[in-house]
Each structure stands twice: as structure tokens, then as C-alpha cells.
Amino acid sequence: MAAAAILDVRALRKSFGTHDVLRGIDLAVAPQELVFMIGPSGSGKSTFLRCLNRLEEPTGGSIVVDGVDMMAPKTNLNAMRRRIGMVFQSFNLYPHMSALGNVTLALRKVLRMDASAADAAGLAALTRVGLADKARSHPAELSGGQQQRVAIARAIALEPKIMLFDEPTSALDPELRGSVLAVMRDLRASGMTMVVVSHEMRFAREAADRVVFLEEGAIVEQGPPGLIFGPEAGARTRAFVSEIGR
């Protein structure tokens, strides 16, 4: 599997000063696999995702995405980053641009598409998240769920090899989460490789191939959702799962 992996992380470490946040993480993600990450607050889940596209500079270890060594000095980071879609807890849409403007900015400035090609690709991405009719709306005119779907469209418009989700529904009211999760299910069904940090257990049970339990910057246990969420899981995993399951 390792050879064909879209994402291959080895011995990834990250320290902030003397604080070791990631303490040697190994994780390989196969094409079309959905890896679901859980762990207590402060265990390093966000830091891990942010190291993958080097928004955060890893302290050590290797990261290979689609065969490209992310840590190599000669790697074109900007070219690789557009291959790694990222969705944030707080959406981070550009407030001064319409939904379509948000989606097309990188198409125009990174992929250098002309305006009409970018608009067409942007509209196609918005259609995939069910928001073609909101193309002209600004983020402030959209609900949280709609904003997060625009953020997903912004990432998938670049045709990434892998998508990273950092608690994509945590900032949303419960009734708005369903639409975002539905879009994520569609993405999964279309064969997207995904790493999802979330507390949405039901989504994990239905959609995840593998659940990874992270604690204090290290992977404690991993396996299919049935195992990790079931009675055979290790004691620490079970304690955590029962806590968030409540």
C-alpha cells in the first residue's frame, strides 16, 4: 500500500519551543481512502493537518504527497498545496469576494485560467456542493453551512489529490451540519482521498475506512470504525470515544 499511497507520512514531529506537539506520526493514506482522526483537544490533530501542506513547518520527519517529497527544498510548495485541499473549522472565506470569486481566485491566479474558464470551473464546483444559485452571494449573506460548502468548493475546484478537513462542522449549529456532511459523503463517493478530523461519530461509522485515535501527539490506536468505536478497542480509546459519544 505504501508505494501507491497518496499521502505517506513518516516519523512526523513538530515542537513549539520545548512543547512536543507531534511525537513521531506515521500514516499512509491510500487512494480513495477516508481516514478519520479523533483525539482530545490539544492532542495535535490540527497541527498534524497543517504540517501536511506545510502551513506549519514540521520539526522532523517526511511527508510524501502523490509521490512528491513535501520536505524537499526543491519542491514547489505552491504547486503542491493546490493539490492538497484544505477545509477549516472557521471556513475562512474571503469576505470581500462573492462565493464564485472565492472559488475562482486560485483558478485565475494559480492555474492562470482566463476569467470565463475560471467562472465555468468555479460554477461547476459550486454546483457539486449544491450552491450554484449562490454564486453571486457574499459570505456574509450565506449561512454557516453554505459558507463551509463554498469553502469545500474552493478546494475541490483545484482538483486536489487529497482533501484535509479540520473539524469542518464544529462551528456549525447542529441543523446546519447535515448539508456539509452530505457534501463530504458525495466527495467520498466520487473517490476523493480524505483525511477528516471531526467529532461526527455517525459520519465516521458510515463513511470512514479507518479511524485514527491521536493522543498527546502520537497515534494510540487505529482501525476500522467498527473496531475503534467498539468494545474491543483499547482502554484509552474507549474512554475517549465514550466521552465524545455522550
Binding site: 497543517r50 501542506n53 502551513l55 505552491n78 504547486a79 503542491m80 498545496r81 493546490r82 492538497i84 485541499g85 484544505m86 477549516f88 472557521s90 475562512n92 472565506l93 474571503y94 469576505p95 470581500h96 481566485l105 486560485a106 491566479k109 494559480v110 457574499h138 459570505p139 456574509a140 449573506e141 459558507q147 469553502a151 474552493r154 478546494a155 483545484l158
Partner: protein, 226 residues
């Protein structure tokens, strides 16, 4: 009686008629200096704020020294220092150029701080979102950060711009034929305060539109926040 003394001292019709063209010409000088100062000062401030965002320590150190220096010193001191100091090092600038240069540098210093504060106030997530789509640092700054930062800077920048353009009156101490200079010269010549009234009205006529323009900008640049 009271009434006509008042009119004769501050609004004497003959004086108004006689010197209106002089004041009008002075207004043009004030407008010219003010417009040039606003353009160069704001451009300088924006440029320095952009340079500062690259966070190169030695360069930022110099920027901070310049900014703090020009914000701390009274503009009058700078005008006199430059006007009487430059000839000593062999540089002779006309008084109008000195006024433009000094006021541009002062406005540039304030504008840099305002733009910089605007850049810092844009949430970190905006940088991260943009960079995660493959936009480079300069692209992110240009398309994502600055448009948001600049909107936040419109109110303080408008205030600072009005304040600095009022300082064109400092040109009177170095002989720039702007409104205050012409008004005071004329006042001492005719021995009547009417030219000063005319000068004051000229400033009002100039600055009311600027203030209104600032308000219009503020509403235009405001966008609904979630």
C-alpha cells in the same frame, strides 16, 4: 452699530471684492499641494506597510524608526528644519517642494502605521486559506489581505488625510503662497481681518467636500459582516 463694526472688521465688502482673486489663487496652491501630498503620502505608507509585511528584521527596524520619528516630531519643526537645513548641504528646493516633501513624509509615516494595523487585523485564517490553495505570499497579500486591510483603514486614513492637508497652512512660514500665507499677508497690508475670514471660508469650502468624500468612502467600503 455693533453690527456694522462686525461686518467692517470681518466681512468688508470692498476687501472681499478686491482680494477674492488672490485668495482663489491661493486656494489652487493649497489644493495642488494637498493633492500631491495625499497621493505620495498614502502611496508611500502603503508601500512601506507592504514591505514591512515581508518581515525582514533590519528593514522593518528602519521603517519603525522612520515612522516613529515622523509621527513624533511636530510638522512645523520638520518644515523649518528641511527648508533651512537642506541649503546647507547644497540642496536647494523651492518652498512648495519642501512643504510637499515634508508633509508627504509625515503622512507616509502615519499611513504606514494605519495600513500595517489593517494588515495585522486580517485574521490569520485568511492567510492560511489563501496559501492552502497555492497562492504565493505576494498574491495572498495583494488579492486577499490588502483589500480587507484597506477597507479597515478608510476611516483613520480619512482623518489623517484631513489633518495633514490642513498642515499645508505651515507653508505660510516658508513663503508658499497658499491660503493662510496670502490671507495673513493681505490682512497686514489692509489692516483688517476680512482676508482672514476669507481664508477661513476658503478652508471650509475645501474641506467640507473632503469630509463628505471620506464619509462616502466609508459607506462604500463597508461590507456586511457575518
Amino acid at each position: 452699530m455693533q453690527h456694522s463694526i462686525f461686518i467692517d472688521s470681518f466681512f468688508k465688502p470692498e476687501i472681499i471684492e478686491r482680494y477674492a482673486p488672490d485668495i482663489a489663487r491661493a486656494m489652487l496652491v493649497t489644493i495642488e499641494v494637498a493633492v500631491l501630498v495625499v497621493v505620495t503620502g498614502i502611496a508611500l505608507g502603503l508601500l512601506l506597510a507592504v514591505v514591512r509585511s515581508f518581515r525582514l528584521a533590519p528593514i522593518n527596524f528602519l521603517i519603525v524608526i522612520y515612522v516613529d520619528g515622523f509621527r513624533a516630531l511636530p510638522p512645523l519643526v520638520l518644515v523649518l528644519l528641511v527648508y533651512f537645513g537642506l541649503p546647507n548641504v547644497g540642496i536647494n528646493l523651492p518652498s512648495g517642494a519642501v512643504l510637499w516633501l515634508v508633509l508627504s513624509l509625515v503622512l507616509g509615516a502615519f499611513a504606514e502605521e494605519i495600513f500595517w494595523a489593517g494588515i495585522l487585523s486580517v485574521r490569520k485564517g485568511q492567510w492560511e486559506a489563501a496559501r492552502s490553495t497555492g497562492l504565493g505570499f505576494a498574491q495572498t497579500l495583494a488579492y486577499v489581505i490588502l483589500p480587507q486591510a484597506i477597507r479597515l483603514t478608510v476611516p483613520p486614513l480619512t482623518n489623517r488625510t484631513i489633518a495633514i492637508t490642513k498642515n499645508t497652512a505651515l507653508g505660510s512660514v516658508i513663503g508658499v503662497p497658499e491660503i493662510l500665507n496670502v490671507a495673513t499677508t493681505t490682512q497686514s497690508f489692509v489692516g483688517n481681518a476680512t482676508p482672514l475670514t476669507m481664508g477661513a471660508l476658503a478652508y471650509v469650502a475645501l474641506f467640507i467636500p473632503v469630509v463628505l468624500f471620506g464619509r462616502w468612502l466609508e459607506t462604500r467600503f463597508a461590507w456586511r459582516r457575518a
